[in-house]
């Protein structure tokens, strides 16, 4: 359905995304993981043809056989909401405060599907039911500020689903929410993807969330896709030193509390250094300079992609880690 080949996005000659290639098959749930500034959000925007005007886009984005990377804005506009829709991070600021919930959800349907007011309202009501909002009839006439954070995010999802897109891009959709609300939104996204046979690109820095929702994941660092594979496998057995660092650095409750004997747990592991600015990224492997197993050649040479095992897993590293000993 989506075929992305050698997609690069650069600002002032600096590549924020460097020749990314991946497919999004129908109904697939793909996680896009990395620290802020790694290029995941701008990749997501590029999937809707909404990369910032200052970005130079090259490579190919093929949607259902149609080449879209250089497509005119008008064509992209007809694809948005109908083929691809997006859910953003901050559910309050992402909703127009002056419009009623019903009008927010109905507007794309009136525009793209040419529904009349009544039909659009009826469908908006059904969508609210689908995303799990109680008392939908009353909600239609409310304003965003009258809803809770979780409900706002559900409204945003309902608006995104309004024209039955084949792909939903969710950019950190739960970061701004309470943990228990976030969990329910994650389950909703997964369920919607299954029941609608709709592909989902789920962007997050939260590995637990990615594990909960997606089947496959891409790890991005400094604009490169450094590792990809089935989510469960990749999390259990990372082969790129960055992925490994990311997994070890994630906060866990047991790492933060005292042990049974009262002694403190060891400190959280962290990746040394910080993500360099776009202009200061190394020419070769983007992770050079922070990598614990770096070799002299790494900073100058961009590693090729190695295919691991039966072809499902790929890693962009000169010296990928050895497989972890997974207990049988």
């Amino acid at each position: 359905m989506y075929k992305i080949r050698n997609l690069s996005l650069s600002f002032d000659g600096h590549e924020a995304v460097r020749s990314a290639s991946f497919d999004i098959p129908r109904g697939a749930r793909l996680g896009l993981v990395g620290e802020s500034g790694c290029g995941k959000s701008i990749t997501a925007l590029a999937l809707l043809g909404m990369a910032p005007a200052s970005a130079r886009v090259s490579g190919s984005i093929e949607i259902d056989g149609q080449e879209m990377a250089a497509a005119p804005e008008r064509l992209w506009r007809s694809y948005r909401a109908r083929k691809v829709a997006m859910v953003f991070q901050e559910p309050l600021s992402a909703l127009n405060p002056l419009k009623r919930v019903g009008d927010i959800i109905a507007e794309p349907m009136r525009l793209h599907l040419r529904l009349d007011r009544r039909a659009a309202r009826a469908r908006a009501r059904d969508l609210l039911v689908e995303v799990g909002i109680p008392d939908p009839e009353a909600r239609l006439d409310q304003y965003p500020h009258q809803l809770s954070g979780g409900q706002r995010q559900r409204v945003l999802i309902a608006a995104a689903l309004s024209c039955d897109p084949q792909l939903l891009v969710a950019d950190e959709p739960t970061t701004a929410l309470d943990a228990h609300v976030a969990g329910r939104i994650l389950d909703l996204l997964k369920r919607l993807s299954e029941t609608r046979d709709m592909a989902l690109v789920f962007i997050s820095h939260d590995l637990e969330a990615v594990a909960r929702v997606t089947e496959e994941m891409l790890v991005m660092y400094g604009g490169d896709i450094v590792e990809r594979g089935p989510t469960a496998q990749l999390l259990a057995d990372p082969r790129h030193p960055y992925t490994k660092g990311l997994i070890e650095a994630r906060p866990r409750l047991d790492a933060l509390t005292l042990r049974a004997d009262g002694a403190p747990r060891p400190r959280l592991a962290s990746i040394p250094g910080s993500v360099p600015a776009l202009a200061d990224l190394p020419k070769g492997c983007r992770f050079a300079g922070r990598c614990p197993i770096e070799r002299p050649a790494c900073a100058g040479l961009r590693p090729a992609v190695s295919v691991l095992g039966p072809g499902q897993r790929q890693v962009r590293c000169l010296a990928p880690l050895l497989p972890a000993k997974v207990p049988a």
């Binding site: 506009r77 909401a81 953003f88 600021s93 909703l95 127009n96 405060p97 002056l98 507007e107 500020h145």
Partner: protein
């Protein structure tokens, strides 16, 4: 809605306060109306008799209450200079000033919105620069000087529009023609200010997440602008437009005098020269009331625009 009642009570209190200030100021100003009316040759006795007839020998508070009581019955007193009821003077000239003011307001808002949106949509490009430079000029040029330039160009050189005067409403087309230059002079200055506010406000809102959400749902730039960005950019625009109305009122006083238009502004100017106390008082009160009422309407418009404000007040 108790909020509305509170606001209305405030409105009445403000207007009463204004009447007090207006009356006080006019009564401490130097100059004896009787002397002005009768001239320097008049005798002391004649002036005293006239003062008594006009009620000027009464104590100040009694005169104030008398004046206020009259106003409540739409009697603003009798003009010393014209010897007719002030109400009559005002009603005669009101249509002209009202037309001038309303035309100028409507055109200001329309022009400023169009220019502000145009500039914001072309942010950083040539169209934006040209609009901003022109509006800067519009702000810098005084209205009376612009009027003179307009008269020189359109009335003296091109001879397509009258340089001043007003033919009366009997000939509507001619009447409107004589308003073209005055309205233009008023609008160019006010619209320049409002256009810049509009542009800044629109640019601010266009950066926000919900503008991006609207684009992500496939809305055209025009729909995003007029349906989502502009409504959210309205609050600062309405604030400034409301304040501009005060500028428009002082503007009409100047412009009516430049173009010899027999409206309230010109009446005010003449009444001040003639020490026509009741007329000046009535006009100042009228203009002040317009400003206060517009401010009240601006508050009501905020509530219409933003549901979050409606909720906080009810």
């Amino acid at each position: 809605m108790p909020f509305l009642l509170r606001r209305l009570a405030g409105l009445v209190a403000t207007l009463t306060g204004i009447s007090l200030v207006v009356f006080a100021v006019m009564n401490v100003l130097p100059g004896d109306p009787a002397l002005t009316i009768l001239g320097l040759d008049s005798t002391e006795d004649a002036r005293a008799a006239l003062s008594a007839q006009l009620g000027l020998d009464q104590p100040v508070w009694a005169r104030y209450l008398d004046w206020l009581g009259g106003i409540l019955q739409s009697d603003f007193g009798t003009s010393y200079a014209y010897r007719v009821p002030v109400t009559e003077l005002i009603l005669e000239r009101l249509p002209l000033t009202l037309t001038l003011g309303l035309l100028a307001s409507i055109l200001t808002i329309a022009l400023a919105t169009a220019l502000g949106v145009f500039a914001a949509a072309r942010h950083g490009k040539a169209g934006d620069w040209v609009t901003m430079i022109l509006s800067q000029l519009g702000i810098a040029i005084p209205a009376f000087w612009l009027s003179i330039l307009l008269v020189l160009l359109f009335a003296v050189t091109l001879r397509v529009l009258p340089s001043g005067g007003f033919p009366g409403w009997a000939e509507p087309l001619e009447a409107l023609k004589s308003l073209v230059l005055p309205v233009t002079a008023l609008v160019l200055v006010q619209a320049s200010v409002l256009a810049r506010v509009t542009r800044a406000s629109v640019l601010e809102v266009a950066k926000l997440d919900y503008a991006r959400t609207a684009r992500a749902l496939g809305l055209s730039p025009r729909r995003v602008m007029w349906g989502h960005v502009l409504p959210n950019a309205l609050v600062p625009m309405v604030t400034v437009a409301g304040m501009q109305l005060a500028g428009l009122i002082t503007g009409t006083i100047v412009i009516e005098n430049v173009f010899f238009l027999p409206g309230l502004g010109r009446l005010m100017f003449q009444a001040i020269n003639n020490r026509d106390l009741y007329t000046v008082q009535a006009l100042v009160l009228l203009f002040a009331s317009i400003v206060v009422i517009v401010n009240f309407l601006v508050d009501m418009i905020y509530l219409l625009i933003d549901p979050r404000l409606r909720e906080g007040r009810s």
